[in-house]
């Protein structure tokens, strides 16, 4: 029996657009309406809600008229200004502060500052850093291992609280309110932390609350209580104070007389995290959300979920590497600048499409790099004694969990797809270049781009999100293969269907695409050359049954990292060759550039260097 909720209106608010929909209950045959209105905020995304409230109001008005009235139930998912902006503090950067950071990130917040005793900043610099940006909350951790005070330790917990307490900034949306401060550290030091924040609390600048320790013992993190506390702050403080959400509140997002904690509203990061967990099915997966103002990466590796958000605004992206023509010219630079200044605009020409793609690739690569820093094995200190005299302390853990050879699926979603500004193929290619998957990696896409809306609908009914991704492509690339040009065969790929068999070759320095007939079950077998490894071990054959729907197999022999020549002209012609291969020579100028680089996108020379 399907117990999904009945008709529900859902709204997805971002800094650049508002999407609203009335979703009919499955099987009920109801009409579903969907609408997107662009906000009018070019820059800065994080500074204010300008235009979002109006766009939301318009979206709901039009929706109500079109659908014949809004249903009684509603849900809101928002990534506006990062959803919720939080600063985190701890004693050691790589231990308690990192744990607090992961807690905040997985609750859907953006971490504006991370402060710790060993962060290299003097006390006054910590205060200046904390004060420099309005926040929605401060999450403080510290004191790993209860009973730490009995051994005389833990004074640092009170110290970091004393350093930060005088410098609390104003809340982002209501400057008259006290700033919510959650202490999620050792329970032994709650009294000392309370006395450190006493002045701020009495002066109406802080609202101190306590949550169970996020790192009660070194090898264990306990995110959930603090996560709930942050979500509660989001609903009780952020949602009701930020003017952008007023239309949703007016439409009844917070039940009349109901507990704000039950409000059906979530930061987008929380919703996407729930989707990634629900979709992992025991596999190691990455979910990338290609937004217009930020790229979010979620990972579930070994059952451990992590999230990061990389803002695109106000940064100078090294996108030249991915541009297929006229490298380094001011025109390309201006195109990239325009893309950042007008995130909602649509590429109308191939040049603009490739400029957008270059920016997406650069941002995606940076987002994964950021994610690798956050998604790590728990770091801790280990004390060892050698004989009776010598003792030493060493750090253990801290290695990144994100190793592409262990990732079997990458899920792609995002605002760009939802708005139709990027095709699923373009999104997949950008992710292949940005993430550089190795082995056999299945790429699944949220083709209609309604992931957040549907997931919010499911969460509102108390269920894990049951959002379907479409398996779109398979990327085949060798592990630990140095980038070598020359078109040498690295593996033979056999794709066997019901009635036919297709063969392909993974060539060094080349990216090629094999098209499949969607809907037919096929299996892919990779026969490596020599001792090359495609995921099953050196020289071992790999076979994978593809799910229905996979339309393409990318044979990526470019090596890792994807090589870029030092010479800009050669670099751009190489990129043009790869794009021409997968797009099928979209335009004369691209195919012209590809022709210079050699047949089939393979580059025949190997003396230009650059990698």
């Amino acid at each position: 029996m399907d117990d999904r909720p009945g008709p529900m209106w859902v709204m997805d608010v971002t800094s650049t657009s508002v999407r609203a929909a009335v979703l009919a209950s499955p099987g009920a045959g109801g009409q579903a309406w969907e609408l997107e209105t662009e906000t009018t905020v070019p820059l800065p995304r994080a500074a204010g809600p300008s235009g979002v409230g109006e766009a939301a109001s318009l979206a709901l008005d039009v929706l109500a008229r079109s659908a014949g009235g809004l249903p009684g139930q509603g849900a809101l998912v928002t990534g506006l200004g990062g959803g919720m902006v939080v600063a985190v503090g701890g004693v050691m950067t790589r231990i308690s502060a990192d744990t607090a950071r992961r807690t905040a990130l997985t609750s859907g917040a953006t971490v504006a500052r991370q402060l710790a005793i060993d962060d290299g900043l003097a006390a006054h610099e910590k205060r200046a850093a904390l004060r420099s940006r309005p926040l929605d909350a401060l999450l403080l951790a510290g004191g790993v291992g209860e009973e730490i005070g009995k051994g005389g330790g833990g004074r640092q917990v009170a110290y970091i609280a004393r350093v930060l307490a005088p410098a609390l900034p104003r809340p982002r949306w209501n400057a008259l309110d006290p700033l919510p401060v959650i202490f999620a550290g050792s329970e032994e030091f709650r009294g000392e932390v309370a006395s450190a924040f006493e002045d701020a609390t009495e002066g109406g600048r802080a609202l101190l609350s306590f949550a169970p320790n996020v790192r009660p013992v070194m090898p264990v993190e306990n995110h959930e209580p603090s996560r709930r506390a942050l979500l509660s702050i989001f609903r009780e403080k952020v949602l009701v104070s930020c003017p952008a959400y007023a239309p949703a509140l007016k439409a009844g997002i917070v039940p009349e007389g109901g507990s704000p904690a039950e409000a059906r509203a979530w930061p987008a990061g929380y919703v996407l995290g729930a989707v990634a967990r629900a979709r992992s099915d025991g596999d190691n997966v990455l979910l990338v959300d290609l937004g217009r103002d930020a790229v979010e990466v979620h990972s579930v590796v070994g059952g451990v979920a992590n999230r990061t958000r990389t803002d695109m605004a106000g940064r100078d992206w090294p996108a030249d590497r991915w541009l297929p023509l006229a490298p380094g010219s001011d025109d390309w630079a201006c195109r990239l600048g325009w893309r950042l200044a007008h995130p909602g605009r649509m590429a109308e020409t191939w040049e603009e499409t490739f400029a957008d793609g270059a920016l997406t690739r650069a941002a995606t690569a940076q987002a994964l790099a950021d994610h690798r820093h956050v998604a790590i094995e728990l770091y801790g200190l280990q004390r060892q004694r050698v004989g009776e005299v010598f003792r030493y302390v060493s750090g253990v853990g801290g290695e990144s969990l994100i190793r592409m050879e262990s990732i079997s699926r990458v899920l792609v979603s995002g605002e760009e797809l939802a708005a139709g500004h990027m095709t699923p193929l373009q999104a997949v290619l950008a992710v292949v270049d940005g993430f550089e998957p190795v082995g056999l990696t299945l790429l699944e896409v949220d083709v209609p781009g309604r992931l957040r809306l549907l997931a919010a609908c499911d969460l509102a009914s108390g269920h894990p999100p049951r959002v379907g991704f479409t398996p779109l492509a398979l990327c085949v690339s060798p592990l630990r293969a140095a980038p070598v040009l020359g078109g040498r065969a690295l593996a033979r790929v056999t794709i066997s269907g019901e009635n036919a068999q297709v063969n392909g070759i993974v060539r060094s320095g080349a990216l090629e695409r094999l098209d499949l007939t969607p809907g037919r079950p096929v299996s892919v077998t990779v026969h490596p050359r020599g001792s090359l490894d495609f995921g099953a071990g050196p020289g071992r054959r790999v076979t994978l049954d593809l799910p229905r729907g996979v339309a393409s197999v990318f044979l990526d022999g470019r090596g890792r990292p994807v090589p870029t020549a030092r010479d800009p002209a050669r670099r751009s012609s190489r990129m043009a060759a790869w794009l021409a291969t997968v797009y099928g020579n979209p335009a004369d100028w691209v195919s012209g550039a590809a022709a210079e680089a050699g047949p089939g996108g393979s580059l025949s020379t190997s003396k230009e260097g650059g990698y």
Partner: protein, 419 residues
């Protein structure tokens, strides 16, 4: 689940660009204060653009000079005592050796006072004078938050830019007819330039010590070059470059001209950092050239001599921000301007979306015609296919600012209504 359908009019909304030149009787302008600043301003106080509202903290501005010592203490003669003023480059200690054949001088690295002298260790500490934080705009102090900001209330116009660099700074407005310098001094003036400016113009502005540039557009590479040129540049270094350019056989034209026309040296204190905030109202240059409406610049021209403060930074401590310039108008002019009403033309200051319809004035923000403006001529019902297989609805836009009144097809997502 049935595939959702769009309600009627789904694609027919376009973002609206409400008037950019909205004269406001009261607008607030904040001067951020570093922690530990000494605040002088008081709420309700009337301030001028040059009024010092606070001093930056001197805590981090100590310069230690290590003097040579032997068992008897400092070798040489210390000619400045504790508490005495010293200027940058001024000798604070000297000694000669090898029967007068060798000579050594110690000079002050900054304008300040001698804070302490340790004769045994040979440490002489100069405390640099605190740097003043000025109001930059005339008005009345509305709020003082120690360690945070001083907020000034004034009447005028806030110009939002879509891109920029450098800042903050302030000066009096000097509208120019184009990217050509007028005869005379432009030091301390904020230049308002219609159209596109290039690197040469920006470099000239630096050498002539202009306070900033508000213009329609500039190349991204030109701004990047300017930022690289200004990185760590002091007035002293700028003077050296200008002098070198004048005396070299093949001087860079901009440097040579600047030296000649400014009749000597770039002005300013030697250790003052050189900056040139630039605010690009229409963002980075595109092809073809951008075109703000003429009324925009006409109005700016009428404000010549008014105080302007501008900040072109797009990112402060990782936080995105929008470049802006604020023009303060005196009460008499303010009254006239308020009666005149707003001027349309650029920017997206106010939030709105409007229904796309024939006859709507629009600005094109994407595609090959970005930067141009015109009027919606017709709205085809059927979507068109874009590169990569995307489909979208388009509008036929009759361009109003190119010869021949051409009509071009533009995706609705790339239009902004100009109301």
């Amino acid at each position: 689940m049935p595939r959702p359908t769009h309600p009627a009019g789904h694609d027919e909304f376009v973002a609206a660009s409400l008037p950019v030149l909205v004269v406001e009787p009261e607008l607030l302008f904040s001067r951020p204060l570093p922690p530990g600043s000494e605040v002088l301003a008081q709420v309700g106080e009337t301030v001028d653009a040059g009024t010092v509202v606070a001093f930056e903290p001197t805590r981090d501005r100590l310069h230690v000079i290590r003097l040579e010592v032997d068992e008897d203490g400092v070798v040489g003669t210390v000619i400045k005592s504790v508490g005495e003023e010293c200027r940058r480059g001024e000798t604070v200690c000297y000694h000669h050796y090898l029967f007068g054949l060798g000579w050594k001088e110690y000079v002050s690295p900054a304008d300040g006072v001698v804070d302490s002298l340790d004769p045994g260790g040979g440490y002489l500490v100069v405390r640099e004078h605190p740097r003043a934080i000025r109001a930059l705009l005339p008005g009345r102090v509305a709020e003082v938050l120690p360690d945070r900001a001083v907020t000034v209330r004034t009447g005028g116009v806030r110009l939002k830019g879509l891109a920029g660099s450098g800042g903050p700074s302030g000066g009096r407005l000097l509208p120019l007819p184009g990217a050509v310098f007028p005869p005379g001094d432009v030091a301390g003036r904020v230049l308002a330039v219609p159209g596109r400016v290039d690197y040469r113009f920006l470099l000239d502005s630096v050498l002539r010590r202009a306070a900033g540039v508000v213009c329609e557009t500039a190349g991204r590479a030109d701004l990047a070059r300017l930022e690289a040129y200004l990185s760590g540049l002091t007035v002293e270094e700028l003077r050296a470059r200008a002098w070198h350019a004048k005396s070299s056989a093949e001087p860079a034209p901009a440097l040579r001209d600047a030296g000649a026309e400014s009749d000597g040296q770039p002005v300013g204190s030697p250790d003052e950092d050189v900056s040139l905030p630039v605010v690009l109202i229409s963002g980075y240059a595109g092809a073809p050239a951008m075109s703000l409406e003429a009324r925009f610049w006409e109005r700016l021209r009428s404000w010549e001599g008014c105080h302007v403060t501008l900040d072109g930074r797009m990112n402060v401590d990782g936080e995105p921000r929008q470049p802006e310039a604020v023009v303060a108008l005196d009460p008499a002019r303010l009254e006239i301007e308020l009666e005149a009403g707003p001027v349309a033309g650029a920017g997206r200051e106010r939030p709105a979306v409007v229904l796309a319809a024939e006859g709507l004035r629009v600005r094109i923000v994407g595609g090959p015609h970005r930067g141009l403006s015109g009027v919606i001529d017709h709205l085809p019902e059927d979507p068109v296919e874009l590169p990569g297989g995307r489909r979208t609805r388009v509008a036929g836009v009759r361009l109003g600012n190119v010869s021949g009144e051409a009509t071009v097809m533009v995706a609705l997502a790339n239009l902004e209504a100009v109301t």
